[in-house]
């Protein structure tokens, strides 16, 4: 059974903080070390599969965004979590697509919804929202009904002005 102590023993230069994630092991990793840790976990400890990658807004001043990777070892069926945090002013996190290819679309979704930018991602485009959209809708400060007029609709000259999106909320 893998524990993060084994990883620390083998690689004393790596820094991370152990956390408990719903009964499973997890670690909060710094941005500089995440790529090295991910590579070692895959090659030395057999964590072959990336189950999920997601970002969320912690709504705090320091380290506002957190990206979580959920990975699994197929032989022992053990799952662990890797967490990286980044600040609002510098929302950059190294991409793990070079380690687990499956991270590609998950990271794109995280970028689309939260606005975390993944460095060295091969194809960092928006996933759901239109490409010209300027906001990140799952941030805590985004209004539920969106920013009026931020997504243009096709022109319709007979449209009822009462339903004009740009005037909503007045």
């Amino acid at each position: 059974m893998f524990t993060f102590e084994q990883l620390q023993e083998k690689n004393p230069t790596l820094h991370f903080e152990k956390v408990d994630v719903g009964g499973d092991q997890g670690a909060i990793v710094s941005r500089n070390d995440i790529l090295a840790i991910a590579e070692r976990l895959k090659s030395e400890f057999g964590f072959q599969q990336l189950l999920d990658a997601l970002a969320h807004d912690r709504n705090e001043k320091k380290d506002r965004f957190e990206v979580t990777y959920n990975i699994r070892n197929h032989k022992t069926m053990q799952r662990i979590f890797l967490k990286v945090r980044c600040d609002e002013r510098d929302p950059h996190v190294p991409s793990l697509v070079s380690v687990w290819t499956g991270a590609n679309w998950h990271e794109r979704e995280a970028y689309d919804m939260i606005g975390v930018e993944f460095d060295n991602h091969p194809d960092l485009r928006r996933m759901y929202m239109p490409e010209e959209f300027e906001y990140f809708p799952l941030r805590k400060d985004f209004p539920l009904m969106g920013v009026p007029g931020s997504i243009p609709l096709p022109h319709h000259e007979d449209a009822d002005p009462r339903f004009d999106v740009a005037k909503r909320g007045e």
């Binding site: 759901y128 929202m129 239109p130 809708p137 985004f142 209004p143 539920l144 009904m145 969106g146 920013v147 997504i151 609709l153 096709p154 022109h155 319709h156 007979d158 449209a159 009822d160 339903f163 004009d164 999106v165 909503r168």
Partner: protein
């Protein structure tokens, strides 16, 4: 013997050209199904043998907008999809009609959120709203019959009129329910069909 009786005894029918054209158009309203989400299932039931829209001449679902007269927008329209819906509408030849099916399409419905258009009348001229979540197939049939009534009042060859009717009259097809839902025995065949 009057002229009309003489003609009829020979097997002729007298009518106006307008009425003849409207009769033909009314009974061949070919829908363009735009089944974007779950309302599409009810739209399929509306086309299937039980509700049988072919009784009204609309069984030919054309998947090409260039061959269809009626756009049935069945489902949640997001902002990203709105451009596609409008593009399909623009490709349809005149005269054309639009049914907004289901509350998501009519007003955004339960999706009161940033990604869903709060009513497709913001970018499409809608002729008829069919409400329900989803509307029953008989509501949609009623809606189609209302569209047919609308076509009946057109005057395609009279001077100064525009084919396709005026966009003014907006009507709402109300679900026809005769019994409360808990009194319906759905195991009996035909028990769930409420036609006037």
């Amino acid at each position: 013997m009057e002229l009309n009786d003489a003609l009829q005894s020979d097997g002729f029918v007298t009518s106006k050209i307008d009425d003849l054209i409207n009769w033909a158009r009314r009974n061949a309203v070919w829908p363009m199904p735009l089944g974007i989400s779950c309302c599409a299932i009810e739209m399929m039931a509306f086309a299937g043998p039980r509700y049988d829209v072919s009784r009204f001449g609309s069984e030919v679902f054309r998947f090409s907008p260039r061959q269809s007269d009626l756009l049935i927008v069945a489902g949640t329209v997001t902002y990203k999809m709105a451009k596609v819906v409008r593009k399909i509408y623009d490709q349809m030849p005149d005269p054309k009609y639009v049914i907004a099916m289901g509350v998501c399409t009519v007003s955004g419905g339960i999706y009161r959120t940033y990604s869903v258009v709060q009513g497709i009348n913001q970018f499409l001229p809608v002729d008829l709203y069919v409400v329900g979540c989803p509307p029953r197939p008989d509501s949609l049939l009623k809606g189609l019959m209302m569209i047919q009534e609308n076509i009946k009042n057109d005057r395609p060859i009279a001077k100064g009129t525009v084919i396709g009717g005026d966009p003014e009259p907006l009507e709402i097809a109300i679900p026809l329910i005769e019994k409360p839902a808990n009194q319906i025995d759905s195991r009996k065949p035909g028990s769930r069909i409420y036609m006037n």
